[in-house]
């Protein structure tokens, strides 16, 4: 029972951590009475190690994914009219917005600081996570569950007829809305851009790290 509890507690830790410290902690836990306080202490510490083990690209990807979901929900909610063309890029094409570029470049910068040689790969990972909701929308559009309408500037609310409508505001430049296939393939379509911006950020990060490590001249 006691051995099983200790094994269960150790399984809460990330695998890499267990490989390094697991035997020591196991020996310590088996060598003394296990109080409730110790069990809680070990469980909380294990969760903290799990949080620490999450990659920055996952955090950035989830953050962008939430933003993408907010933009999609905003479009589905179909606001009665729109007059703010500035918001179109963010709401209609969150994966092409300046924010997306900044996050990808920032992630590449951050990844390169501790010596990650593949900042573009970290950006790609974040981009794939972030674009997951677009795939879902594309599939729903394809299946006919989600209607898709294009709205030009000045047009008013959309008649939904009780269905769910994904509204795409074409903006002043009358850019057509994305086809379902494009939505489904969006994670792949975003890869070159993600890699490019992540690599640029990574180059800046490496340059900054080298500058910080430079020898101090007398």
């Amino acid at each position: 029972m006691r051995t099983r509890l200790v094994s269960w507690l150790l399984r809460l830790y990330p695998r890499a951590w267990r490989a390094e410290y697991g035997a020591e902690l196991r020996g310590m836990l088996l060598g003394r009475p296990l109080s409730a306080a110790i069990v809680v202490d070990v469980a909380v510490s294990a969760l903290w190690q799990r949080v620490r083990a999450i990659e920055a690209s996952t955090v950035a990807g989830i953050g962008l994914m939430l933003l993408t979901i907010a933009a999609l929900v905003s479009n589905v909610m179909a606001p009665s009219g729109y007059a703010f063309s500035e918001r179109i890029d963010l709401l209609q094409r969150p994966m092409r917005s300046e924010l997306y570029v900044l996050v990808m470049a920032g992630l590449g910068f951050w990844a390169a600081l501790p010596g990650n040689h593949w900042p573009g790969r970290a950006a790609i990972r974040a981009s794939i996570i972030a674009s997951t909701p677009l795939v879902v929308v594309g599939v729903l559009m394809w299946a006919g569950i989600l209607s898709f309408v294009e709205v030009s500037p000045g047009q008013s609310a959309i008649s939904t007829d009780g269905g769910i409508v994904y509204a795409f505001y074409k903006g002043q430049q009358q850019i057509p809305g994305p086809a379902p296939l494009v939505m489904v393939l969006s994670p792949l379509l975003r890869l070159p851009g993600a890699w490019l911006w992540g690599s640029i950020g990574g180059w800046l990060g490496r340059t900054y790290a080298d500058w910080r490590r430079r020898p101090i001249s007398a």
């Binding site: 951590w17 390094e20 410290y21 035997a23 020591e24 902690l25 196991r26 020996g27 310590m28 836990l29 060598g31 306080a37 110790i38 202490d41 070990v42 469980a43 909380v44 510490s45 294990a46 903290w48 190690q49």
Partner: protein
């Protein structure tokens, strides 16, 4: 910066820098290498602080990552840890800072 507020699981009647697991571990290793058990016992003796095993190994993980301590060769189950040169310098700096602050605080208390 060596000292951070990582005292979330250390249990001690008084809070503050003296209950910081990282500082306590560094202080424990100042007189020679010790393994986890010995570190815990030593801290209980000299600081009156009981650190849980999870908290202890979280702090050890951070200190190893910061290269302030390093494991020595052992049988894998209970490796002893030792202070690195960087850890010695960091501990010395931290303790000097604490001594300076303590001395100023005590002097002001006496004047008040």
């Amino acid at each position: 910066m060596l000292y951070r507020n990582y005292d979330y699981m250390a249990r001690k009647p008084s809070a503050g820098p003296a209950s910081d697991p990282e500082l306590l571990i560094l202080s424990s290793l100042a007189d020679g290498p010790k393994h986890g058990w010995a570190i815990m016992g030593d801290i209980e003796t000299f600081a009156g602080v009981t650190i849980g095993p999870g908290t202890l190994y979280n702090a050890i993980t951070r200190l190893v990552e910061k290269e302030l301590i390093a494991p020595r060769e052992g049988d894998g189950r209970q490796r002893p840890y030792k202070l690195t040169a960087r850890g010695t310098a960091a501990l010395d700096e931290q303790l000097q800072n604490m001594r300076r602050i303590a001395s100023i605080g005590l002097r002001r208390l006496r004047l008040a």
